[in-house]
């Protein structure tokens, strides 16, 4: 009887170990596979020309990635400008001012936002944000645009990163000890004074981590941005210009990949680029968050 149990134990252990190794090797497959596939592109032109080149014309053999890097940066930057203040204020409100009942209602609602499939954000963006920009926002600045712009992408992205930013910020703010706030209040400071000078300062590393993590999420978002950003391979010079972030590049052109071998390599390189950027951002924010967690117990 005992033997059967032990055998089962070992069997399960071995099988799971195998599964574990296979799953972890995916990281290797991604990194190595993409790099290997990109090699033809590296042989064709050096990395600086690739990253800084402005012209994207694969048919003519020109692979300048700058428009896409710029597009990704533009859309992400706009989304951060919108999301960061909104999320900090909301997170502070939820932890410092809101009643428990309100908090318990709002947090799940915000998390539902996270469950909505990206394509629905794209649909909403096309339905509402694009016309909004075309008909109302742009005219204020005297600009004529179709509405398909990096601004549209930024707005849609901002809403998509609300849940992750708010939930991490709320978590971080909740770790601040009450007595610290009491110390500030006892000196005659208002709650808002305390928030400005004590709480936000103490929570700064965590807030930064939340932002970095949300940024890496924003970098990788594909379909929602693709549907509203215009997909024009030029470096955007104003927020009303169309843009072409890296994920959209990959998504739109994989069909054409087969015709030009270098094209496939270029798209694999884009994926590699994305992977590396996101990997670095993720690492930074995890390190910050882990150090924060350790500091609390220390």
């Amino acid at each position: 009887m005992l033997n059967t149990r032990l055998v089962k134990d070992i069997l399960v252990k071995r099988t799971t170990l195998l599964l574990l190794l296979l799953s972890l090797s995916v990281v290797v497959i991604i990194a190595v596979g993409l790099t290997v596939k990109s090699i033809p592109l590296f042989e064709y032109s050096d990395i600086f020309q690739l990253l800084a080149g402005k012209l994207w014309s694969p048919m003519k053999g020109s692979f300048g990635f700058l428009p896409f890097i710029a597009g990704t940066l533009a859309v992400t930057l706009i989304s951060l400008v919108i999301a960061i203040p909104l999320c900090i204020l909301t997170a502070v409100y939820l932890t410092e001012y809101a009643s428990d009942a309100l908090k318990n209602m709002m947090l799940p609602l915000v998390n539902i936002l996270a469950a909505i499939p990206p394509v629905l954000y794209g649909v909403w963006g096309v339905l509402f944000i694009v016309p909004l920009i075309q008909l109302y926002i742009a005219p204020i600045f005297g600009v004529v645009t179709s509405g398909y712009s990096v601004l549209a992408g930024g707005i849609v992205l901002a809403v998509m990163i609300f849940p992750i930013m708010i939930s991490i910020m709320v978590e971080v703010l909740q770790t601040i000890p009450y007595d610290l706030k009491a110390a500030s209040l006892s000196l005659g400071a208002t709650k808002w004074d305390t928030i400005k000078h004590v709480i936000l300062k103490k929570a700064r590393p965590g807030i930064v981590a939340a932002i970095v993590l949300s940024t890496s999420r924003a970098f990788g978002e594909t379909i929602a941005v693709l549907m509203v950003c215009g997909n024009v391979a030029k470096v955007p010079t104003s927020i009303f210009d169309a843009g072409y972030p890296i994920p959209a590049l990959i998504a739109n052109n994989f069909g054409e990949m087969m015709s030009i071998p270098l094209y496939e390599s270029a798209l694999m390189f884009s994926a590699l680029l994305l992977f590396v950027i996101i990997f670095i951002f993720n690492l930074i924010s995890r390190l910050i968050l882990r150090r924060l967690e350790g500091g609390q117990h220390g």
Binding site: L113, L120, V126, T222, F254
Partner: protein, 283 residues
């Protein structure tokens, strides 16, 4: 006195902005769902969910999106089942067999963090590469492979969090009865049963809504998914294609399809909430 009044005023102003922010954030949820409801409801009818797209569907003729509904269900269902079968044991192995202090566990968790953060488009690109290498054409199989890989880190992380909530005492008491670690794992699994279900549901929701992963690997088809090596339709892609049509009727149907997807997601979310409150009540 002046200083105090100024500070109190700035607090009041700050509170106004905080309220506005909170309202903006929560309102956007209702806004999105509401817009889709508003635009999609007029076009939602029995025909849409029960029929396949007939010839000319995308330019206004009859039909429905049954191909996409079933295709998505099938794809997400199989992928979620696979990733759960793989991910749950892995998480148990890391957290219970090896324990959270083991170097292997910490290293693995780091790698899974990386995998979790990789966007689905990259999985799509890699999946595509694998398919080319193995000689598989764009099909349900390709999509299943890609989405499974995509979902495994999500399952592992969610189960990790779940295991963290199991009280130490349960583990100690069970071990002291002389169980093997596998039996311990079974006991712990039972104690977080509802949590596991929630995790699987959430993974399913993620899988069904994903576009970038299936775009490059699953292809598209107007037929029902029958064979695993054939291209299959998925809801997000169906929405996308219908939306690209210039004909308002078709666009309207795109919103209806989006509504169908939204309803599926909302059902999942409601189920997870019910499960979670059941879990809380039991505690």
């Amino acid at each position: 006195m002046d200083n105090t009044r100024r500070r109190l005023l700035s607090e009041k102003v700050a509170k106004v902005f905080m309220h506005l922010s909170g309202i903006t954030v929560t309102a956007s949820l209702f806004f999105i769902v509401g817009t889709i409801l508003y635009k999609g409801l007029p076009y939602l009818n029995w025909e849409m969910v029960s029929q396949l797209p007939k010839g000319g569907f995308y330019i206004g003729k009859e039909g429905g999106i049954l191909n996409a509904i079933l295709g998505s269900m099938y794809l997400a269902g199989v992928s979620t089942a696979l990733s759960a079968l793989i991910g749950i044991p892995i998480s148990l192995y890391l957290n219970i067999y090896l324990g959270t202090n083991s170097k292997i566990t910490q290293f693995s968790k780091l790698l899974f963090d990386v995998l979790y953060g990789v966007p689905s488009i990259v999985y799509g690109a890699v999946g595509f590469g694998i398919m080319v290498y193995l000689g598989i054409r764009a099909s349900l199989l390709g999509g299943i492979i890609t989405v499974t890989l995509l979902t495994i880190p999500i399952v592992v992380r969610t189960v990790d969090e779940l295991i963290k909530t199991i009280p130490e005492d349960l583990k100690n008491v069970t071990l002291s009865l002389g169980t093997t670690r596998w039996e311990l794992a079974k006991v712990m699994l039972r104690s977080v049963r509802t949590g596991l279900l929630t995790a699987v549901l959430l993974a399913f929701g993620r899988a069904i809504g994903d576009v970038a992963g299936v775009l490059l690997t699953t292809g598209f088809s107007d037929n029902l998914p029958k064979y695993i090596d054939e291209p299959a339709a998925t809801l997000p892609l169906s929405i996308f294609f219908q939306l690209s049509s210039p004909i308002p009727e078709v666009q309207g149907r795109a919103y209806a399809s989006a509504l169908v997807l939204t309803i599926i997601i909302l059902i999942i979310v409601v189920c997870t909430h019910i499960l979670q409150s059941k879990q809380k009540n039991r505690r």
